[in-house]
């Protein structure tokens, strides 16, 4: 960790050396460590220390971006010169208006000493808990325990100045038990102390033990109950399919021409909030613009999308604080998604289901048709047939090919508790959907 003063000194120095009409400089430093285990043993254990200094230079309407992990004086000087050279070599971009001006960035306490000082031995002890728990259930464990510490500093020549330090930790495990049993659980938090390895291990072990000897289930349309891990894949799929302003401006979003219209079920309210402490909060985006809450879908109605400065200026609006970094070619993206909770819970949903499928998690999801929000993927790590309000037996994994909005339109119950999940950093509850199409099966 450089600390606020040293980090800002570097970015201001780089800004001073960059000869351009407007300049933005960002610095991200990181200390990251990850312990990976499989077959109930640690097989990979890594640590890294890095930094990325990025300069965005604007000359007229020419915009260039350069980055390097060299932050010594010579490295900064070379990068500043390269920024000018790259920018001058370009053609003008008539759509570019300006870098963003300063916004009021809130102070967030998102750095935890306990996480920053977590050691390889600490991670190994936690893995030992997971492995021993698996053993006590007759299962084997695989997974990863990672911790990280990062600093972000952004300044620009229009007066933006933003700095924050943050930490995070994640433990995930897949347990397996012959024949054919699998279970998954994970925990993600800013404070590693909030992660209980025993609780994660027991959650996975119980699912694993219950999923041994799965039976075949024919493809078809069924009611489904999705745990938050699975819900996060649908929500992340929606984000990819068009919750950023660039996709709307390029007319490839499912939101196009539908703002104000009912696009999915009335129970569905989806928003992005980088400041909500239930997620992994971050006070500003890659341009140093303060994060704003954006209500994307409200009671099933298409309401809004997120903006960075480039897409906002095109429409005469202000950035919502969702720039994604670099030269911004991927456009703005919601990185702190929340699905509004309901008043149900997993047990109640199962009891209220005559016939249906309980899904722990999806695997390898991919958009088949973005404007129709059609997503495909597989179930994995604990899929069960529900009959007469009870989990009847485990089933082999299924492929789904399904419009996300159509599926969410059939939501009849939403969990009251939300879980923070690494897929899309989404904070989501469990869901019951009355119609979900499985298009194929596999052999396990």
């Amino acid at each position: 960790m450089l600390g606020r003063h040293a980090a800002l000194e570097i970015v201001y120095h780089a800004m001073e050396l960059t000869k351009a009409d407007q300049v933005q400089v960002s610095l991200v430093t990181s200390e990251e460590a990850l312990t990976r285990f499989a077959n109930s043993a640690i097989h990979q254990n890594v640590a890294e220390r890095d930094a990325v200094l990025g300069i965005r230079a604007v000359i007229g309407k020419r915009v260039g971006y350069v980055a390097s992990n060299a932050t010594d004086s010579e490295g900064i000087r070379r990068l500043a010169e390269r920024a000018r050279a790259v920018t001058l070599a370009q053609e003008e971009n008539p759509d570019f208006v300006s870098l963003p001006g300063p916004t009021r960035v809130p102070a967030l306490d998102i750095w935890r000493e306990r996480t920053a000082s977590f050691t390889p031995d600490d991670r190994a002890q936690a893995v030992r808990v997971v492995v021993d728990t698996a053993g006590s259930w007759g299962a084997i464990a695989s997974g990863a325990f990672s911790t990280w510490e990062r600093e972000h500093a952004v300044v620009n020549s229009l007066g933006v100045e933003a700095y924050c330090a943050s930490t995070g930790a994640m433990l995930s495990t897949v347990m397996s038990k012959e024949p054919g049993g699998f279970g998954y659980a994970s925990a993600l938090a800013q404070d590693v102390g909030a992660i209980d390895p025993s609780a994660v291990a027991h959650e996975a072990a119980m699912v694993c033990a219950r999923s041994v000897s799965p039976r075949e289930l024919a493809p078809g349309v069924y009611p489904v109950i999705l745990k938050p891990y699975a819900v996060s894949e649908l929500i992340a799929g929606l984000a990819w399919a068009g919750l950023g302003a660039l996709s709307v401006q390029e007319r490839r979003s499912f939101m196009n021409d539908r703002f104000g219209e009912q696009i999915t079920g009335e129970k569905i309210t989806l928003f992005d909030d980088g400041l909500d402490r239930a997620g992994l909060p971050v006070p500003f985006d890659a341009e140093g613009v303060a994060k704003q809450r954006v209500d994307l879908i409200v009671k099933g109605c298409a309401n809004a999308v997120v903006y960075d400065s480039y897409t906002a200026h095109r429409e005469g609006k202000q950035s919502t604080g969702h720039a994604t970094g670099g030269s911004g070619v991927w456009g703005p993206y919601p990185q702190n998604l929340f699905l509004e909770p309901g008043d149900s819970d997993l047990d109640t949903m199962i009891r209220a289901t005559e016939r249906g499928v309980l899904i722990t998690r999806f695997h390898y999801t991919n958009l088949v048709h973005p404007t129709k929000t059609v997503l495909t993927g597989m179930t994995r790590d604990g899929t069960f047939w529900i009959e007469n309000g009870q989990i009847a037996y485990p089933v082999k994994n299924l492929r789904f090919t399904q419009s996300i909005l159509d599926a969410l339109a059939s939501a009849t119950a939403i969990g009251r508790e939300r879980k923070l999940v690494d897929v899309g950093w989404a904070c989501v509850p469990a869901l019951k959907l009355e119609r979900f199409e499985f298009s194929g099966t596999t052999e396990f």
Binding site: Q44, V46, A89, P120, S146, R251, V374, G440, T442
Partner: protein
């Protein structure tokens, strides 16, 4: 540099390492995006650092840093040994490495025209011309033309005495036209989707692509797809063009033959593999038309190199011979477990990542058909072109792909253009249904620069040699 790497290796040994290696890596990148008639972005990047990998008490440890100097080499080497000792706390078997002859030397892959020396203005001009060609079709609303260049300068040294320097340059480009109308968006790309095609070569590769000609066709086809009927559902014969077949090979052969997946070390993330070791030399993976190899020695392949990141020489390894499953991509550690030597497939995504088993160039060997002959001898079927979406289960059995476009085949002739085609199957059933592969003259190596694997995530640049191939009785039109 050898003085520096030796400092790391000596410190690791003093701290108790029975084996250590160090990689010092410098990466240089440049990306240019032209969109809708103007330059949207020019990005240039550099990243330098080193990583030290050690075995202590029979367990692995790895640490890395961007600061390449003697003191940091020693700090990081010592940290790696501390991490390895922590690994040993939860250990079942000690690491055992298959032997390799320690090699020394310097190797530079061919690059006739250095892309980083070609003036930016020249590259932008070529992209602007291609972008304009995309927009000659008025219904194209988003036009994109991209180029990307990548250079890696890498030094590898090990306590066994290896010392290797390698330089590899990669170049790639592509165009994409998106036509939109009434809530429908259709994209056609050339020569491949998701940024185009890539090769371990210089700017001469970009010049060989004829982007402008490809762009004009892409624009026209994107617009035509708006009016095209939906690909129907059913079971039919399928001909896959080379670029889509490259991804089919990637997902359903390349990943399942990774021996670390087979042994479960990717179980919690990307998954395992149905190609378990009991199937070696006996399992009918495909028809006798199917021969697949891993070949890190071919010129221009993104998966080519002189030595892998364990100092093992590049090889050509049989994976499937006339349909029978024959071999794996392996490392020194995993190869030792099946009594073989490493196939030389350990590759790391930069200085700050540990090497993992990654694809090299996974190729479907050419057959003796031509694409035209395949079409002529197909009564009813579909010709599918250019990947759009992909998904496969965590043992690599059930897959589903979408492509940008399909053409009907009826009575040996190409017919209507169809939109939103998809197809699905079970890996070995699909490859067993392969009855025709196009010949060497129609075969080429496709570059895929975005293969993800591992935690922390690593992105590998891999190659796939493929020509068109035909598959009988495939389920198509999954999305209605």
């Amino acid at each position: 540099m050898e003085d520096l790497t030796q400092r790391a290796l000596d410190r690791a040994r003093q701290a108790g390492a029975s084996y250590a290696d160090v990689r010092v890596v410098r990466r240089t990148t440049e990306e240019i995006l032209v969109k809708n008639g103007h330059v949207e972005a020019v990005e240039a990047g550099e990243s330098t650092g080193f990583g030290v990998r050690v075995v202590v008490d029979g367990a692995w440890g790895f640490a890395s840093s961007r600061q390449v100097d003697a003191d940091e080499m020693e700090r990081v080497a010592e940290l790696a040994t501390r991490i390895a000792r922590a690994s040993a706390l939860v250990q079942r078997e000690e690491v055992d490495l298959a032997p390799v002859e320690p090699a020394r030397g310097r190797f530079e892959m061919p690059c006739r025209k250095d892309p980083f020396e070609v003036p930016l203005e020249e590259k932008i001009s070529l992209l602007l011309d291609a972008d304009a060609a995309l927009r000659r079709e008025p219904r194209v609303t988003v036009s994109e033309a991209r180029m990307a260049f990548f250079r890696e300068e890498k030094t590898f040294a090990s306590t066994e005495g290896a010392y290797l320097e390698q330089v590899k340059t990669e170049s790639g480009a592509g165009v994409a036209a998106t036509a939109t109308e009434s809530g429908e968006a259709q994209t056609r790309s050339y020569p491949a989707a998701f940024g185009g095609d890539f090769a371990a070569a210089g700017y001469e590769f970009i010049e060989s692509l004829d982007l402008e000609q490809g762009a004009e066709t892409a624009g026209q086809e994107a617009a035509a797809l708006l009016d095209a009927p939906q690909c129907p559902s059913g079971v039919t014969d399928l001909i896959l063009e080379g670029q889509q077949l490259a991804l089919q090979i990637h997902e359903s052969c390349g990943h399942p033959v990774e021996l670390d997946r087979v042994f479960g070390t990717e179980a919690s993330y990307a998954g395992t593999s149905f190609l378990t070791t009991d199937k070696l030399d006996t399992f009918q993976y495909g028809s006798d038309a199917v021969t697949l190899v891993a070949d890190a020695t071919i010129e221009g392949g993104l998966g080519s190199f002189a030595y892998d990141d364990e100092g093992v020489p590049a090889q050509r390894v049989p994976l499937v011979e006339e349909g029978i499953f024959r071999g794996y991509l392996s490392s020194r550690e995993t190869a030792a477990r099946i009594g073989r030597t490493s196939s030389g497939a350990m590759r790391a995504d930069g200085w700050n990542r540990i090497p993992l088993i990654r694809m090299t160039n996974i190729n479907l060997e050419p057959g003796d058909w031509s694409l035209d002959e395949m079409i002529e001898e197909t009564q009813e079927g579909l010709l599918l072109s250019t990947n759009r979406s992909w998904s496969i289960d965590d043992k690599r059995l059930n897959f589903q792909f979408g492509t940008e476009a399909a053409w009907e085949i009826r009575n040996g002739r190409l017919g209507r253009l169809l939109k939103n085609p998809t197809y699905t199957g079970i890996t070995y059933q699909f490859w067993r249904a392969c009855d025709a592969v196009a010949r060497r003259e129609e075969w080429r190596v496709w570059g895929i620069p975005n293969c993800g694997k591992g935690e922390p995530c690593q992105v590998a640049h891999v190659g796939h040699g493929a020509s068109a191939a035909r598959f009988r009785g495939v389920r198509v039109g999954v999305m209605r």
